[in-house]
Symmetry: C3
Amino acid sequence: MEILQIRTHDREAMVDITNELRKLIHANGWSDGALLLYCPHTTGAVTVNEGADPDVVRDILVNMRKLVPHTGDYHHAEGNSDAHIKSSMFGCEQMVIVEGGTIQLGTWQKIYFCEFDGPRSRKLWVKWLEA
Amino acid sequence: MEILQIRTHDREAMVDITNELRKLIHANGWSDGALLLYCPHTTGAVTVNEGADPDVVRDILVNMRKLVPHTGDYHHAEGNSDAHIKSSMFGCEQMVIVEGGTIQLGTWQKIYFCEFDGPRSRKLWVKWLEA
Amino acid sequence: MEILQIRTHDREAMVDITNELRKLIHANGWSDGALLLYCPHTTGAVTVNEGADPDVVRDILVNMRKLVPHTGDYHHAEGNSDAHIKSSMFGCEQMVIVEGGTIQLGTWQKIYFCEFDGPRSRKLWVKWLEA
């Protein structure tokens, strides 16, 4: 697998990793298959969503915080149970299609690494699956 | 990849695409592997759920609307932030197993294309991954 | 595909299946690729989350029950619409990376089979995808 390094700066963040993934595909000469994007951290996730208006990311993070508040009926002593819950709701992995050496994305789509208990230095694992 | 065309008729919809996928597998002679079902639209998703009782789809859509309301604390000016949030909660892609040229589904499972900001004319991308 | 048998003992449960998957990989001699973990039941899911402190699983299940209550505005007569909704929120499938014959997991990650309408005898389908 290949590994991307990601730095987040707030407690909750969605970091656009689309260009880093494009460079990785080019560097490895991957052409026809799929990328398995895997977050090895239990307070993180990977998702695809709108990338044109930064307010979409803001709206996602603010409203997920309302749905799953930072404090609440939690027994886990680290104070980040909300982040674990969001991780399972968004999912720690994402598959994307690659054809002709290019990630196939919809017009408005960007790929985001999500962190719900930052700021952190994190890794994203990238596994190439040949078609 | 292959592309399915999907038409939705309400703001929120889950369209059963199982039979269209079966035809696609047959037409391509795919036998042993997996389908990567990918929605290139940022207000859509792909999911698998019960297909016997239409009330299950109704209950899913009604209660997701209650969890993530159409209006609320949203800055994105297009009025569809709820749909973007639901897209990341359900996920824009789904993997399904194919063996013996047949999609492997549980007894009650159907595959649904989800749209949370319709009605729309949409596409589903289908990538074959050989086992 | 290979099939794991899983027994749950409560209405909602997350069962750690990491070791059973390790045995399956060893028994099949799988080395470099990915596992497609697929739950064929429409009230179940597969997720990856923290495995060190059992309170994390407790916090996830208790707070998902608060988000999507057992009783509510449901038309489906079987009384398990909450479980169907949670199944689509967590997702019925999960991809994990395998390299050197070993599942690649983050330090604190375990793989969980989720059941939201148990107790049940369930199956998990495991499909090997070669890299």
